[in-house]
Symmetry: C2
């Protein structure tokens, strides 16, 4: 194998595929990046089996071939080389020479035949979304995936297409996050993608209008971004019927400025940190919401202007769960819907119906 | 005690004095900030005994008084309050109320009488330096202080005034850093300041021409920046006679571009990380320096253009020590002076004689 390529292109390709390389793996070959030089194209692949990322860049191929090389060391070397063309060539004894200007590195490589094959995903495009929108939908739900493995299905995000709407849903035992976007398709899909790998996918997606094509098989999802393909395995099992959890009715509705509420809860949580599980109390009155917290550290009282439709209510929350939700919402005005002090609170944007968040209250012992 | 002051001023004052509060202290009172309200001035003090920082800000004092309050919690609360005037008032039962707009916090405070007194330093100015210069001198030497405590005096930086020159010197067993600036004074001083506290001092110093007044006693040094005073204890004992360590003569002199050399050594060190103590070899030839390293990971060859006066030489170093030195030097062209493969290398700026660095070579077994 022998090829010449631009430093910057190679650095970018390595950064992309490295997102699937988890470092110390029980299979040493998975600590490496697969590199194939063929037909003026360099194909790089990183994989931890659950997640595989492939990307292609242009290169001058002088002799086709393929190798696997330690991802961390190779990445560090290429990043530190001067900003010129890099020449890479294999030699006998499984060694490669990396040359750039007056720098010459000689390293051992691994055998490309030992690298696992990518899962085959039939590329009949199932649907297409702008990258920026998908990136935002992942960001807007992934914080709510379960952190513990007691119910593995909840460590994933539900990808659901139904009635021309794409829904992304994540939930643990305490809160639920739902993001939805219109999608012009007749297809119906329901699949659960590991949250961890979806976070890596969102890092590769750009904040723009360019599209990503998405395909499914029984076991895998493929995100095709043109030069880059991301393949993730799906989680097995049924996701929770989330629609039955979200209350369809409410007794009172609060309209409030998101940032003001977030600031108040953020400050109140300072007093809620010790001992009592981030407990804050909301006293919802006619025109204001009073937020209080008490602990060994001291006490705090915050007040925020609201518009209330319905009867006043007192309700308590773990401040962390409210803060998580408010932090990732981007509308200025939000709606909070309550039914009673022991029923979940639903948080939405006031003007835009592209998300729904649900947070369980903390039941206070009277 | 009762006062009103601007949020931003209070935040800045807390940030300054908090640099002396080390967190968990065997004396609980030292986890707090001392606050005294008197005569339209708020005085804040943080201390860990070794280092004390006092700063003053303007405030509207409605009732004079003094308290000590937990630094971490108080800092977090004040930082998160809205950007308006803050009112702080003490009540019975050792509690204080912090109010700002519609936010009200109630906290316990500690007894100001339990807070240790600042060491008395007679403020006859001994000398004056622009803050930016002192900040730079500290940055340019503190990386070379000893990390282990086997010789406590080497965990400090020597502050020496002699022959109208201020010298800052740090050294461990492997390298030495000397920074010097002209100082128009007849005084003679030699004191060793703990490196850790001097690093905190350098964070408070601004990158500008404003001066800092410096005073010494037998046991303490006082940096007076106007509104802020920093008092550090001195280390006991004699510093090493550093002048006898720095070679006065050399057999060969290398002129080289600093950034190019740094890049080469930085890359070469990638291959030097495993097993063999960052060992890199320098082959100094007529017009080039060839840098090589070999390890189980592979091998590397780098080449940088130089001007050589003297005979060629081969010498080996721990790359980390050379990188540390090159990173903090700011001249484009530097000089490296060598005598033999077992004598220290002296590194200087080509045009500016305000620093001198010394790095011991690694003796290779032939």
């Amino acid at each position: 194998m022998k090829f010449i390529c631009e430093k910057n292109k190679l650095v970018e390709a390595i950064s992309i595929v490295q997102k699937a390389v988890t470092g110390k793996s029980p299979m040493q070959i998975l600590e490496g990046i697969y590199i194939e030089a063929f037909d003026n194209t360099l194909t790089l692949i990183g994989s931890d089996i659950d997640l595989s990322i492939e990307t292609k860049i242009e290169a001058e191929i002088l002799e086709p071939g393929k190798i696997v090389i330690d991802a961390k060391l190779f990445g560090e070397i290429i990043r530190k080389l001067p900003n010129y063309d890099i020449e890479i060539e294999t030699f006998e004894n499984n060694s490669i020479k990396i040359s750039c200007q007056k720098s010459v590195f000689t390293l051992m490589h691994m055998n490309a035949d030992d690298f696992p094959n990518l899962p085959t995903v039939d590329e009949n495009i199932i649907f297409t979304v702008p990258q920026g929108i998908l990136k935002n939908m992942i960001k807007g739900t992934s914080f709510a995936i379960a952190q513990d493995e007691t119910r593995p299905i909840l460590t994933g995000i539900l990808f659901e297409i139904k009635d021309k709407v794409l829904n992304l849903v994540a939930l643990d035992g305490y809160r639920l996050a739902l993001r939805n976007e219109f999608l012009d398709t007749e297809k119906t899909i329901s699949a659960v993608i590991p949250g961890k790998t979806l976070n890596e996918v969102s890092k590769i997606l750009e904040e723009n209008e360019e599209t990503v094509n998405i395909n499914f098989t029984t076991n895998h999802i493929l995100f095709n971004l043109g030069d880059t393909k991301v393949i993730s395995r799906l989680l097995e099992g049924e996701f929770i019927k989330y629609n039955s959890i979200i209350p369809q009715e409410h007794n009172l509705e609060v309209t409030v400025n998101k940032q003001e509420l977030l600031n108040c809860i953020d400050r109140a949580s300072l007093m809620a940190k010790e001992g009592n599980s981030n407990l804050i109390k909301l006293d919802i009155q006619e025109d204001v919401m009073v937020i209080t917290s008490n602990s060994q550290l001291g006490k705090v009282r915050e007040e925020v202007n609201i518009k209330l439709q319905g009867e006043p209510l007192q309700i308590a929350f773990n401040s962390k769960y409210l803060i998580d939700v408010l932090k990732i919402m981007d509308n200025e005005e939000i709606l909070m819907e309550f039914s009673s002090s022991v029923s979940p609170c639903v948080v939405k944007n006031k003007d835009l119906s592209n998300c729904k968040y649900l947070v369980l209250p903390v039941r206070l012992v009277k």
